[in-house]
C-alpha cells in the first residue's frame, strides 16, 4: 500500500467528515460561521481533488479491512477506486458547492433549528462516495442519497414548494423509466448492456425533465450538480460495456436535443431562462460528442463532461454579472473567456482536440457537417446570452470586485486546461512532436473552429438586434412554460393518487375481508347443518337411546335379566351352530 494513496484519500474525506461533525456538534446557529465553514470545507475538498488528479494516473482499488458486504458474488462489494477522472468529478462537485456558498451563501435561512449547511455537506459526502465507489450499483445508491439531501437543502429556501414539486416529478419519472426498462427487458429486443445503457439514459432524462426553469441564480450550480451525477453514472456504465446498437440512435437523440434546447435558449428573453436552456444544450452537445465518437466508452469522456458542465457554470456567472461589466476591457475579457471555454468544449483549439477518441479515419462528411452545425448552435447561444446580459439594467447599486465575478471562469480555465493536458500527457506521447501546426490543418479542427467563430458572431448579432430581442421579450414567458415554475397541480394530483391508492387498498381489503367473512359464514352454516343438525343430532339421539338401553340393563328389573338371558342364549346358540359347521 502506498502512503500517498492513503494520504490523498484521507484528505478527500477529511473535509466532509469534519464538516458533518461540525454541524452536528454545533448547538447554536450562526449564519456567518456556517458560510465560512462551508467555504473552508469545499475549498479543502477541491485541493484534495487536485491532489487526486495529479497523483492517480492509473486506477487504484482500495478495499476495507473488514468487508462490509456478506454477499459472495462481488456485485455489491463496497470498495473505492481512485483514478484521476473520478477526482475531476469530485473537483467539479466541490467547485459547484463552493461557488454556491461564495455567491449565494447569504441566502441561507437565518432562523430555525435546521442546519442547511449539514444537508449541503452531507450531500457532498455522499456524492464523494458515489464518485469514488468502484461498484456502479452503489454509486447509484449514493447518488440518490446525495440528490435527496440536495432536495432537502432546496426545501430550506424560499423556493421550497418548487423544489418539492421538482423532486416529486423526478421520483415519478424515475419510476416510469424503470417500468419502461422492465418492459424493454421483457421484450428481449436488446442485449443486457444495451438495456442498462437505456436505463441510465432514461434516468438522466428523468432528472432533466423534472427540473424547473431557474427562478434564481443560486439554483444554477445545484442544477448542474443534479445533471452531473447521472452523467457520471452514464460514464461508469459506458466503461467496459459494449452496446454499439444504441450509439447511433442516442447520438441522433442528443443531436436533436442540442437543436431544440439551443432554439429555446435563443427564443427565451430572460437571463435565467437563457442559462437554463444553455445548460441543456451544452449537455446534449457533450453527449452527442460521446455517442458519435468511435470510442464512447473511453474514460476520457467523464472528465471532459465534468469540465464541460463547469464551463456552463462559468459562462452562467458571466451572464449573471454581465450588467456590471461596464468598462471595455472587462467586456473584452468576458468575451474572450467565453470564446476560450467554447474552444475547449468543442475541441477547436490546437493541442486540445481529441482526434483519436472523437472520430476515426472513417468519419463521414455528414458527421463533420453535423458537428459544425451543433458547434454553431451552442456558440450562438453563448454569445447571445452574454450580449443580452451586457444590456441588462443593474438592479443593485453596489459594485463588486470584477475579479470576484471572473473567479469561477479563471478557476475553471485552469482546471480545464489542467485536465485536458493531463489526458494528453497520459495518452499521447507525441503531442510535442506533432506540433501545433499539424493540428491546425486538421479538417475537423478547422470546421469546428469556423463554426465556433460564425456561431459566436451570429449569437452576438442576435443579442444586439433590438427587433429580435423585442420580439422574444414580447413572447413573455412562453418558453418557460415548458417547465412550469410552480406546479402545485402535480403535488395535488400526487396526493390524490396516494389517496386513491389508499382507497384502493381499503376497497380491496374490504372485499377480501367480506369474502372471507362470507366464506367463514358459509363454513359456519355448513358446519351447523352437517355436524350440528345431522351428525350431532344423530349421534346424540343414538347416544341417548344407547344410554336408555344401558340404564335399562342396569336397572335390576326382572325383565332386564330375562332379556339378557335370552340374548346370551341366542348368541351362544349362534356361536355353537357356527362352530359346528
Amino acid at each position: 500500500m502506498n502512503f500517498w494513496n492513503f494520504a490523498v484519500l484521507g484528505t478527500s474525506f477529511l473535509a466532509p467528515i469534519a464538516g458533518v461533525l461540525f454541524f452536528i456538534l454545533k448547538r447554536e446557529r450562526s449564519q456567518e460561521l456556517e458560510i465560512k465553514a462551508c467555504l473552508l470545507i469545499f475549498g479543502a475538498a477541491m485541493a484534495a481533488a487536485v491532489a487526486g488528479i495529479v497523483h492517480f494516473n492509473s486506477p487504484v482499488k482500495m478495499e476495507f479491512l473488514w468487508p462490509l458486504t456478506l454477499e459472495q458474488s462481488g456485485y455489491f462489494e463496497f470498495s473505492l477506486q481512485l483514478f484521476w477522472s473520478r477526482f475531476v468529478w469530485v473537483f467539479f462537485m466541490a467547485a459547484m458547492f463552493l461557488a454556491h456558498m461564495a455567491y449565494d451563501g447569504i441566502s441561507f435561512p437565518r432562523e430555525g433549528h435546521r442546519k442547511p449547511g449539514l444537508l449541503l455537506v452531507g450531500s457532498f459526502a455522499f456524492a464523494l462516495l458515489a464518485f469514488l465507489c468502484e461498484n456502479i450499483l452503489l454509486s447509484l445508491m449514493f447518488v440518490e442519497f446525495s440528490a435527496f439531501l440536495l432536495h432537502a437543502f432546496g426545501m430550506e429556501g424560499e423556493e421550497g414548494e418548487i423544489e418539492r414539486a421538482s423532486y416529486f416529478k423526478r421520483t415519478c419519472f424515475v419510476f416510469l423509466a424503470l417500468v419502461a426498462v422492465l418492459g424493454i427487458a421483457l421484450s428481449r429486443e436488446f442485449s443486457s448492456s444495451s438495456v442498462m445503457l437505456l436505463g441510465s439514459v432514461l434516468y438522466l432524462f428523468a432528472v432533466l425533465v423534472s427540473r424547473h426553469t431557474l427562478t434564481g441564480w443560486p439554483q444554477l450550480p445545484l442544477l448542474l450538480v443534479h445533471i452531473g451525477m447521472p452523467l457520471f453514472l452514464i460514464e461508469r456504465l459506458m466503461i467496459g460495456a459494449s452496446s454499439p446498437e444504441l450509439w447511433a440512435p442516442l447520438s441522433a437523440v442528443f443531436g436533436l436535443g442540442v437543436v431544440v434546447s439551443a432554439a429555446l435558449c435563443l427564443l427565451t428573453p430572460g437571463m435565467l431562462g437563457t442559462a437554463f436552456w444553455m445548460a441543456f444544450s451544452f449537455l446534449a452537445y457533450l453527449l452527442f460528442l460521446r455517442f458519435s465518437s468511435s470510442k464512447p466508452g473511453d474514460p476520457f469522456w467523464g472528465g471532459y463532461e465534468a469540465v464541460g458542465l463547469g464551463a456552463v457554470y462559468a459562462i452562467g456567472v458571466l451572464f449573471r454579472f454581465g450588467d456590471r461589466l461596464d468598462l471595455f476591457w472587462k467586456r473584452a475579457t468576458a468575451f474572450g473567456l467565453v470564446a476560450l471555454f467554447l474552444g475547449f468544449v468543442v475541441g477547436a483549439l490546437p493541442t486540445v482536440e481529441m482526434p483519436a477518441t472523437r472520430f476515426d479515419s472513417e468519419t463521414t462528411l455528414i458527421k463533420i457537417a453535423l458537428l459544425g452545425f451543433f458547434t454553431f448552435m451552442i456558440s450562438a447561444v453563448s454569445a447571445r446570452g452574454l450580449m443580452l446580459s451586457l444590456e441588462e439594467k443593474s438592479k443593485s447599486a453596489s459594485s463588486r470586485n470584477t475579479l470576484a465575478r471572473l473567479a469561477p471562469s479563471l478557476v475553471l480555465l485552469a482546471a480545464q486546461t489542467g485536465a485536458l493536458l493531463k489526458w494528453h500527457d497520459l495518452n499521447f506521447d507525441d503531442v510535442a512532436a506533432s506540433g501545433i501546426t499539424g493540428h491546425l490543418y486538421d479538417s475537423r479542427v478547422l470546421v469546428t473552429a469556423a463554426a465556433l467563430l460564425v456561431g459566436f458572431l451570429a449569437g452576438g448579432l442576435l443579442g444586439t438586434n433590438t427587433g429580435f430581442v423585442k420580439w422574444t421579450k414580447n413572447r413573455g414567458r412562453s418558453m418557460e412554460d415548458f417547465f412550469p415554475v410552480i406546479d402545485p397541480a402535480i403535488v395535488r394530483r400526487g396526493l390524490q393518487a396516494a389517496q386513491v391508492s389508499e382507497q384502493g387498498i381499503e376497497w380491496f381489503s374490504s372485499r377480501v375481508r367480506a369474502t372471507g367473512e362470507r366464506a367463514a359464514g358459509s363454513l359456519d352454516e355448513t358446519d351447523r347443518a352437517v355436524f350440528g343438525d345431522k351428525l350431532f343430532r344423530g349421534f346424540s339421539e343414538y347416544g341417548s337411546a344407547l344410554s336408555q338401553i344401558t340404564r335399562f340393563f342396569q336397572s335390576g328389573q326382572t325383565r332386564a335379566y330375562l332379556f339378557l338371558g335370552a340374548l346370551v342364549t341366542i348368541l351362544s346358540s349362534l356361536i355353537f351352530l357356527l362352530e359346528g359347521r
Binding site: L70, F76, F78, V181
Partner: protein
Amino acid sequence: MNADQLLLLVYLLLPFAAAFVPLGVRSGGLLSKGTSATAVRILILLALARGVVSLAGSVAVKTSLLHGYPLEILLTLNTFRYGFLVVAEFCFLLAHWMCPVSVPNEGLIRTLVCFAQGFCSLLLLSDNSVTTGGFLLMAGVVLFYLIRFSVPDKEEEIGAVVSARVHVLFFLLGLLMIAWGVTEFGSRDLVFGRATGSGLGLNLWLALVVLSIPLPPWSRWFSHAMEHLPEGVVLTLVTFLSGLALKAASLFNVSYPDLGWKQKLLLYVLGVIGCGFSVAGLFGAANQRRMLSCLPGFFFSIVLVSLGVSQKGLVLSAYFSCLFVPVLTGLALSAAAVADRGSLQRLFVGLLFALVMGVPGTPVYQIFSGIGARSLDLGVAYTTSFGLLWFFYFSTNVHICRRFFIDREAPSGERSVALPDGARAIFAGYGIFLLFLLIAVAQVAGRLL
C-alpha cells in the same frame, strides 16, 4: 444432562415461571418480572455463546410426550437460531419496558407477553413438526388474549376483529404444520428434514409459508394491530411473527433446497405485491403509527422475495429481514415515544435513519445486496424488478423523512407510553445500543452461516 442443556432448559422455562410470579411494576415500568426474566435469559444466551457460536455446535434438549409414539419435544439451539434469539430477547426487553402502565389489565398483559416470549423461543427451537404445530396452536390462544386485553375500551370492536383473526390464523397454521409434518416426515419420527417431495406436502408448505407472513393487502389485521395496539404489545407481536417467518424460511433450506421455479416465482410475485401494497399504504397513511406500520409489512414481504430469488442453501436475505423487522419496529416506536429531542435522541434518530436507509454494512444493505446479486444472476428482468423494489423502498424513506423532519407540520400520533424524563434518555441510549447490536449480529451471523 450437561451444563449447557441445563442452561437451555432454564432459558426456555424462565418466561413461563416469571408469568406466575406475582410481582408488581417498579420504576415507571422499567423494572418488572418480565424484564428481570428477560435479563436472565440474555445472560444465559451469552453463557451459551461459546458452545453454539465459537465452536459452531448445537445444544439440544429432548423429552417424549407419549412413550412409543414419535411425539416428542425436541428443541435444538444452533448458530442460526442463536443470532435471532439474541436480537429477539433484546426486543422483548424493550417490549416489556413499553408495556402500558396503569391500565385495567396491566398485570394480565405483562403475563401474556411473558407467555408469548416463551412460545416464541419454543417455536423457533422446535424440530418436531407435530410439536411445532402444537406450539402454534397454543401461541394463537396467548396472542388472542394478549390482543383482546390490551386494546383500549373505545376500540373494542377492532380488538375483537384482530384477535379473532390472529386466533384463526394460528389455529390454521398449527393444523397446516401438523398436516405437513405427517405428510412429509411421517416416516422419520416427524422430525424436520429433507422432504419426500410429495405434491401435497409441497403445497402445504407453500400455504404455511405464505400464511406465516402478514402479507399486504390480505393481512389487514396486521396493520390494524400495528396502528391500534399499545407499543409493547405491537413489538411482542412483531417479534413473534418474525420468529414464525424465520421458522418458515429456514424450513425451506432444510426441506426444499431445490424448489421448482414455478413455486419460487409464486413466492416472488406474492412478495413483490406485498412490498408494493406496503409502500402504497405508507404514502396514503395519515398518522405516524400507520406510516410506521407499513415498514415491517414491507420487510415481511421481502422474506418471500428472498425465497423467490434464492438459489440453494440458506437464504441470508430472509434471515436478515427476520432479524431486522423486530428491531426496526422497536426502534421506530422508541423514536416516536422519545419525541422531545435532546442531543442523544437526535443522534439516535440520525443513526436509525442511516440504518433504515441501508448504508453499507447495515442489515438493510445485506438484505438488498443478497436479493440484488441473485436478481443480477437471474437476468435483466429480475434486475429491473429489483431496481424498482429498491427505488420504492428508498422513496418510502424519503417520504417518511420529509414528513417527519422537513415538513412544517409533522403527522399526528398517539402514544400510549408515558415516559418519565430520565427514561427518554435511557430509551434513546438503548436504541443506539440495539442498533449496533443488530449490525454486529448480522455481520457475525453472515460470516458463520
